[in-house]
Symmetry: C2
Subunit: 222 residues, 2 copies
């Protein structure tokens, strides 16, 4: 297959995805529920971040989670231990969630009892950023052991995300990571990105992230 044809096909796939994304966006807008599409490499700590966030915001923000994984429901099980509703999507090999997959399960969440929905995408720093799921905003996660060059090397996500969580700051000093470099590279791609250095393990830095989430849910007039 020549590359012109391949590009045309990719464009069609993205256009079809966009139609489903619009439906999801309408569904969420009618219910005034913000929805965050959380994207990162495998193992950067997405599930740990979500589990801690759910626990520490209990009584303030009611959170539901859609979990995307190639295989297993390990992550949904971890989320359910917090008491929050979680639905697992298995992509069975595919490298990102599609808007159609999210649309299929969105109604299975008790949406009328929620203030915020997180979608935890498949662990992948490249592909998921190209697929709109109808989310309110994308949230990028990068962790200290991955190295400070990730925004420069994988720019698409950081250019599109509204927030960047730099997780595992408890490992600063144990492994090399120049926070100024990572932050500057992210801001060069996207001068509006909000950067939160955090440790979902120790809790350091999480309160600013929670403030951002509260502002997001309040903006929606709930």
């Amino acid at each position: 297959m020549d590359s012109v044809r391949k590009v045309k096909v990719e464009k069609k796939i993205l256009i079809a995805n966009e139609e489903y994304a619009c439906k999801n966006r309408d569904f969420l807008a009618k219910r005034k529920i913000p929805c965050l599409n959380v994207i990162s490499s495998p193992g950067s700590g997405k599930t740990t971040i979500l589990a801690r966030t759910i626990r520490e915001l209990r009584g303030k923000i009611r959170i539901g989670v859609i979990e995307g994984d190639v295989r297993t429901d390990i992550d949904a099980q971890r989320i359910r231990t917090t008491g929050a509703p979680a639905i697992q999507i298995n992509t069975d090999g595919a490298c990102h969630l599609s808007a159609a997959q999210v649309g299929d399960v969105l109604q299975k969440l008790p949406v009328d009892e929620l203030d915020l929905i997180f979608i935890e995408n498949v662990g992948n720093l490249v592909c998921p950023s190209a697929f709109d799921l109808g989310e309110t905003a994308k949230v990028a996660v990068v962790s200290i052991p991955e190295g400070d060059d990730k925004p420069a090397k994988y720019p698409a996500l950081f250019a599109r995300a509204q927030a960047l969580l730099v997780n595992k700051v408890d490992l600063l000093g144990v492994v090399d990571f120049d926070m100024d470099r990572a932050g500057a590279d992210a801001l060069k791609l996207n001068r509006n990105i909000r950067i939160f250095p955090i440790s979902a393990k120790t809790g350091v830095g999480m309160s600013r992230w929670y403030d951002w989430l509260e502002a997001l849910t309040n903006r929606r007039g709930r």
Copy 2:
């Protein structure tokens, strides 16, 4: 675009890729040079592993590197500081290297002066494993901070790789990681996979990996 049509298109892309992969495999076989396709999440330490391997095998195995990244030539620059030849491919957004891209640059390496070629794929635990580059074998890398559930959650790579480097063992005890679980899950997918717990930072465990590389280059009768 309906999903049946999408699957057909994906199949065509894979078939086209396979033709280029065969050409690469012929090119390498004629010159009796083994070639390893190194695949992992972003930030698991691929480049650090390759740089240390090149330095420590100097005088024994002459190594050349093809670097794949979405953007920047940071990795090729790091490899060149070892004195080894390195060629950077930028995929400009794409999430994996294709056999055609590798074929384009393979002849730019001084192949007649090399005993082994590493291809460092785009940091991505999902997509690259589906695309044969004509390599002799795939090598998976997973690092301790990513967590021990990665073989279970991203099975395709581990099912196809001949070797698994479990990197950053210097962080065992600092972060949670059950080596037995990760190893058992990988072996369940692929009972022939060779597992090497290593630290490319401290050098721990690297000698067994070097023995494996030496056996690989010797098998080829060089």
